[in-house]
């Protein structure tokens, strides 16, 4: 089991604070609508969750086998 970051997109301000801190470059804000995390790149370090001013990123156990 590995942890992955998940964004509550309905609350996202698309500010991009999370993009700036992600060491893997896993986050982008396509079309300026909300942040999107590339699960294949995310290593679950939690930096984005700490940085997000709205605190809407959570780390959740991802089912790896799927």
């Amino acid at each position: 089991m590995k942890r992955k970051a998940i964004v509550d997109t309905s609350m996202c301000a698309a500010c991009g604070c999370c993009v700036k801190v992600c060491p893997m470059g896993a986050i982008s804000v396509p079309h300026g609508v909300n942040a999107v995390i590339d699960e294949t790149l995310c290593i679950g370090c939690g930096k984005c969750a700490k940085e997000c001013p709205a605190s809407i990123i959570t780390l959740e156990e991802a089912n790896h086998e799927s």
Binding site: M11, A13, A14, C15, G16, C17, V19, K20, P23, G25, V29, P30, H31, G32, V33, K50, E51, C52, P53, A54, S55, I56
Partner: protein, 199 residues
């Protein structure tokens, strides 16, 4: 594994200089128009939030002061503050005040009101600011606009600074009117684009 800094990671210097120049000569406040026009042009023209995500010096300033300098408690902000009601409400309030400022500027332009050499903080407190006024080569109206515009910039900096201390460094970005507006523009553009693509 720190990402290499790009040129635009230094735009906080511009924001800081801007705030200082307003104490020196109020006419420099007009430069702040860049912070209004650039995000609009980027969001309308390209349909993205590159301004917030990359260039905004104010966001960088808050993240530096709150992050590296540890001036932020780094606590979660209250739920109501990140709700759409508050964000959109603040956007409406902010632009209402903006248009009132424009109206006052117009009155000075039209000669119906003398130039007020004051800065209005938090839309309430009038602070004498004549030391930063050394006359203008333009009309008094231009100077009035500079005072009004700088009032807005300083007020939003103060609010952003307070929420930086209380909550996360860039808490301001959650309810920043420019940020909210550009996101709305992007959303609208994206929706219409995907609709036309689907046809």
């Amino acid at each position: 594994m720190k990402a290499k800094k790009k040129w635009y990671d230094y735009l906080w210097i511009f924001s800081l200089t801007y705030l200082i120049l307003g104490f020196v000569n109020i006419l420099f406040a007009l430069l702040g128009m860049i912070c209004f026009i650039a995000p609009l042009v980027i969001s309308i023209g390209w349909g993205n939030k590159a301004y917030c995500n990359k260039f905004c010096g104010r966001g960088q300033l808050f993240s530096m002061l709150g992050g590296h300098f540890g001036l932020s408690r780094k606590k979660d902000m209250p739920k109501w503050m990140k709700s759409k009601y508050f964000r959109y409400g603040f956007l409406i309030f902010f632009f209402t005040m903006f248009f009132i400022m424009l109206w006052n500027t117009y009155l000075v332009f039209a000669g119906q009101r003398p130039l007020g050499q004051k800065i209005k903080l938090l839309w309430t407190f009038k602070v004498p600011w004549q030391w930063a006024y050394h006359g203008t080569i333009f009309s008094d109206g231009v100077a009035q606009f500079a005072f009004g515009f700088y009032s807005i910039m300083l007020t939003s900096t103060i609010l952003g600074f307070l929420t930086m201390i209380l909550f996360k460094p860039r808490s301001w970005c959650v309810y920043c009117p420019m940020g909210t507006m550009t996101q709305l523009i992007c959303k609208a553009k994206h929706v219409t684009k995907s609709q036309t693509d689907a046809k």
